[in-house]
């Protein structure tokens, strides 16, 4: 029998059971060879405890090499004490190697059907492991049958393509609701906030509506995945239909035209116009009024989002943010970041005091763009919107907002802040602007 162990050489993996199993097999008269791949803190001790010509320690090997080596073995022995969802086990099964592993409340027990795709034994049951291997050695037909079952199980349940589809379906189900998806043109977000018919508005600044979907579908197509039209609207509709609240998404860049042009936002927006789900809307007046904190009368929604048009909102983000605000009614806004908030599962109710501590004594909280937040409209009005203080406007706003209201800290990475050439924030002028205005942050 050719036996294989792949993993970190640590006592948590039960590596010191391996020489005992080897001895038990020897007592049963089973001739075996062992291949041990991996390194770890207990490697010297294991080598000292387990010697013999039939044991090969190959240390760390390339992934492809491990798969090739695994294919030349009969059984994969995994006597771990703790496991999550061991990929080495799945890869061994995929290579047609029968697993003999510890029965753990983890992915191990989910992956192996005892007696069909492998063997499960209790932790530390040396005799049980040895008996299982001996049974395979005695019945080669069963070994081949179980190897085939293991291979088919991995192909059916853990193939990358299958898992991708399953993940997509999961995300879709999370972001969706029971109401039918309506066409973009009838979505409240576009009609109410930006204004139906403003597509031909003569005054103007371009607004990219639902660029997120365009970007998302592009990314999906690039990854060979199917784009799902209408995932984001469904998140919006969910709020409308279930809670009778409305979310208005305002996509805007900056208040000054020269900055807008400098950022090439118009050009970026036009690139996506060929996508039928994307509309570029010209309406300077609305952006200006939002910028000064006066929500247009056509935006009666209870929730408001101010979205930079060159950033991307992932399809599930509004559903997550709205839920955070639902859970914490006293919060005036929900805030996401590109890193997980430390300290607790989200959402976290961050009072002004906590926000102060997180920003100045912790690892920061205010380095966010407008896109990272979802506001209650009345709170946003009361705060007065983002002040016109150049590059530091976001920081100034967060300082003011977080001092005034409780913030619901939501899950990370709901947005993609896109860094690109020609971005205003990357210019030398902007760096000087920041330096000149940043001083207020150091004041008491």
């Amino acid at each position: 029998m050719r036996l294989l162990f792949v993993g970190r050489l640590h006592r948590d993996k039960g590596v010191f059971d391996l020489p005992l199993i080897d001895r038990a097999l020897d007592d049963r008269g089973i001739a075996v060879t062992w291949t041990v791949i991996g390194t770890g803190p207990d490697e010297p001790a294991l080598r000292d405890a387990w010697t013999g010509a039939h044991v090969s320690f190959l240390r760390r090997r390339a992934h492809e090499e491990v798969l090739a080596i695994a294919a030349d073995h009969d059984a994969f022995v995994l006597p771990s004490r703790f496991e999550g969802f061991p990929l080495a086990l799945l890869e061994a099964m995929g290579a047609g190697v029968v697993p003999v592993a510890t029965r753990l409340e983890s992915g191990v027990a989910e992956s192996i059907t005892d007696g069909t795709t492998g063997f499960l034994r209790e932790a530390g049951d040396i005799a049980g492991f040895a008996d299982a291997i001996a049974a395979l050695d005695r019945d080669r037909a069963r070994l081949a049958s179980m190897a085939d079952s293991a291979r088919r199980h991995v192909a059916a349940h853990h193939d990358m393509r299958t898992c991708t589809d399953a993940y997509q379906a999961l995300f879709r189900a999370t972001a969706s609701c029971d109401v039918p998806v309506r066409p973009m043109s009838s979505c409240r977000t576009a009609r109410g906030s930006i204004g139906a018919g403003s597509r031909t508005s003569p005054c103007g600044r371009s607004r990219l509506i639902r660029r997120a979907q365009g970007e998302w579908s592009d990314a999906g197509r690039a990854a060979g995945l199917g784009a799902d039209d209408g995932v984001q609207p469904r998140a919006l509709h969910r709020r409308r239909h279930r809670k009778r609240a409305r979310t208005d998404v305002h996509r805007l860049r900056a208040s000054r035209r020269r900055r807008l042009l400098h950022d090439s936002t118009v050009a970026i927006a036009r690139r996506y116009e060929s996508d039928p789900r994307v509309r570029v809307i010209v309406n300077e007046r609305i952006a200006a009024t939002i910028q000064t904190g006066i929500t247009p009368s056509r935006s009666p929604g209870t929730l408001l989002q101010v979205h930079d048009s060159d950033d991307v909102m992932y399809p599930h983000c509004l559903a997550v943010m709205v839920r955070a605000l639902d859970m914490i009614p006293e919060a005036g806004l929900a805030l996401s970041a590109h890193h997980a908030w430390s300290g607790a599962p989200t959402p976290i109710a961050s009072t002004p005091r906590l926000s102060y501590c997180r920003e100045f004594l912790g690892f920061g909280m205010f380095s966010q763009g407008p896109s990272n937040a979802l506001f209650r409209t009345d709170v946003f009005r009361a705060l007065g919107g983002f002040p016109e203080v150049g590059r530091t406007r976001n920081l100034a706003f967060w300082l003011h907002a977080c001092r005034t209201t409780t913030v619901a800290l939501a899950a990370a990475d709901l947005y993609w802040y896109r860094v690109h050439e020609g971005q205003h924030l990357r210019t030398a002028e902007s760096a000087f602007d920041l330096a000149a205005r940043r001083r207020f942050r150091g004041r008491r």
Partner: protein, 84 residues
Amino acid sequence: MSARAGEREVAKRNYAYGYAKGVVRALMRGRLALAAFRMRHSPLGAFEWLRYLRPPNRSGDAGVPMAADPARDIAVLAHGAQQH
């Protein structure tokens, strides 16, 4: 020194370090004018720079609620902190 005053001292130290890092980064990129501009516009005086420019003392626990509100299944208060 009260706990709040101690916190403020740490906050200033963290701020000074972050600000100095920006200046050093500008220098490393050869942007001398920007570095000088930043120093000129620094909110800290010479004495404060000497006093507060130290390695930062940031904590992952800062701002972390330590007590849960079982009724809503969320964490709400920092350990020993008061709500304003």
